[in-house]
């Protein structure tokens, strides 16, 4: 009987541990998605508040906002953000970014293969009172 209990425990405990790590990984991915989504939203809002009609400056505002916030989320790596749309008033700019959540080398890699890739997109509308 004691042997049977030992084998049962040996089978059950690793499964429970993997389940527990899996739940934590899901929480981490959800949190990373919220972080990326908020950052992309702020970048889009920044882009429409740049001087009207200046797409280069709008993209620069978005880049600076995105990079400034992402610096504080070291577990996320991103190649940057791209914004496009109508830059002249009333501007409607859509920004999107992709990022990888760095889970490789952590205990989470036991349940999540590779680094999960997440994406976010946000659209912001500028004020019609800006001149072009």
């Amino acid at each position: 009987m004691r042997g049977q209990a030992l084998i049962e425990s040996a089978v059950t405990i690793p499964v429970l541990i993997l389940l527990f790590i899996g739940f934590l990984a899901i929480g981490l991915i959800a949190q990373a998605y919220v972080d990326l989504n908020t950052t992309v939203y702020l970048a889009a809002v920044s882009a429409v508040t740049a001087p009207a009609g200046n797409s280069a400056l709008g993209q620069q505002y978005a880049d600076e906002t995105f990079a400034g916030s992402m610096r504080h989320v070291p577990e996320l790596t991103s190649a940057g953000i791209t914004c496009g749309g109508a830059w002249s008033p009333p501007a409607t700019i859509t920004c999107q970014a992709h990022a990888e959540l760095q889970l490789r080398g952590t205990p989470f890699s036991m349940v999540v293969p590779g680094n999960p890739r997440i994406s976010a997109q946000a659209t912001a509308h500028g004020s019609p009172y800006r001149s072009s």
Partner: protein, 142 residues
Amino acid sequence: MVEFALVAGAFVIILFAAISAAFHSLQRAMAETAAATGVQVAASAVAGDPTQADLAGAVAPTEQLLRSVMFSTTLDGRPGQQCLPMDRIPQGTLEVCTYAAGPGLVGETVRGHPAYVVPFLAQLLPWSVDVTLVMHQVSYQQ
């Protein structure tokens, strides 16, 4: 009887831990929303000077949002200052800091240790919140 006591005890602890974890997720998500709201206010300007970021004005809207989920937590607004390191912020206190984050950039950080819904788990589950968002200042134009 002994078996039941063990199982019931473990069940209660796991239940409280799950409630605590769920509540922490909620608080963390709200901190993100509150910081995003605050940093947008900071990125706009003070009345009368379109180049001056409204660092002081960003604290109140952030705290208003945080209060809805940060029960019994002291909110410490620090306009124009960086937050203290996490280990120097007392338990049950959350700092709201707005500051210039570089040329033309403003930042807002919400950092600290919220008070616990389940007090006796406070020592076992040291949840903390640390959210920083940066935004370019708004340019004004007629």
